[in-house]
Symmetry: C2
Subunit: 243 residues, 2 copies
């Protein structure tokens, strides 16, 4: 609500080959490109100072200019309807691309907000297109296809109704998506309220569900966040349902 948006174009941090030294390279769009293509992309990317907690990369209805590559941190996207009701539509980890939904309409359909200090790279979309290195195009298609495939997984999450199933499924997927470097240690600082909203559950139901998973020693739950303790156990739980 109160968070303010800054133009992402403010400062270009470096003219050098930033991507080459980026710690997140393997997860990034750029990581799959040939050296020459990557350098071409690199030259177009805008990098500003990191977003603070509560700051937005873009807001719903903003004109579409950039795709945002999440480098480090954690973000959420949400859509606000005509009545002011917000629906959380996703949580985003390093390597994710934000703003893909806006290409078609030329306007963002949701707001992207940092849940923590977060670094992002802004890629001017038209420039990326006009210069079109074939490799980048193909990578973009690949990334979008992956996103569509992942949405199929999400549909499966929601079509099974048990609350515990949804929670376990979400946690397992989140763990899978976490860059392997920090997979086991990562504590996710996602507000329970937002997570409940995302999962289509009452906050109370989420609370009880997490408590149960904690009893089963599958997750670590603290006031401020949670940590996956037994990823395999969670995965099993999502499969055992429905004999």
């Amino acid at each position: 609500m109160t968070a303010q948006r800054r133009p992402r174009t403010a400062t270009v941090e470096s003219l050098g080959a930033e991507c080459d030294t980026c710690s997140n390279r393997t997860a990034c769009l750029a990581g799959h490109l040939e050296d020459s293509d990557r350098r071409a992309l690199d030259a177009r990317i805008m990098r500003g100072r990191p977003l603070g907690k509560g700051e937005d990369a873009f807001e719903q209805n903003d004109a579409f200019e950039y795709l945002y590559l999440l480098r480090s941190g954690l973000m959420e996207t949400f859509h606000t309807d005509s009545k002011g009701q917000a629906t959380i539509t996703g949580f985003h980890l390093p390597g994710d691309i934000l703003g893909l939904d806006a290409i078609a309409q030329g306007r963002h359909t949701e707001t992207a907000r940092a849940l923590d200090t977060t670094s992002i790279c802004a890629l001017p979309f038209t420039a990326a297109l006009s210069g079109r290195t074939g490799g980048l195009y193909a990578e973009l298609l690949r990334a979008m296809s992956q996103r569509i495939a992942r949405n199929g997984t999400r549909h499966r999450l929601f079509s099974r109704r048990s609350a515990l199933y949804r929670i376990a499924h979400f946690l397992a997927e989140l763990h899978t998506r976490t860059p392997s470097s920090s997979a086991s240690a990562a504590t996710f600082r996602i507000p329970k309220r937002d997570l409940a909203n995302f999962l289509g559950l009452a906050p109370e139901t989420l609370s009880r569900g997490l408590a149960r998973l904690h009893e089963l020693e599958l997750v670590e739950v603290s006031k401020r966040g949670f940590k996956v303790r037994d990823a395999e156990g969670l995965e099993n739980m999502t499969r055992e349902e429905l004999e």
Copy 2:
């Protein structure tokens, strides 16, 4: 289950400019292309005989070769998990593109099945890429972006839990997506069982929900399918929820 798959490459129906005379042109990927681009695309498209009810365009785990453009009819896509449980992931109308999720992995993640006699066009993906007319590339990005945006809408559908809300929302969206030519008259022959599966509801709950919408004179329900009677009323219903 018992439906069999046919290779979609079997016959090329015509060398002429099929797209130019296609009744579905406005809704199709090709409809947005420049004339020259469209003819280039046209030359690559494979058209076979229509699929009969229960036939598959492709099956889960098939290698990815073609994108399929739905020209007329009605299809569903579903994913089968390791236990044999199927989840319906979507219903598809003319103009929709099937197989987009397979680009990233090179393998289809779901099966596409005709619910009725259905005509589709098969577009060889690698050929489309290698020849890369800029216009087609851009159109593909646009179509995929639209799909991603639509998935956001779907998420909102599921995150509100009331069964009646989900049903009304689905019907309203289906009506919106129906090519305007036949919008008011169209009877959707979707098996209730599959629709319940898609919506994450018990078949009994769907049945009761539809009965209620029928009482309210918002839809026409018969054994074999249903028809939207008052689209605006349905839309309103999806908004009224949650004061």
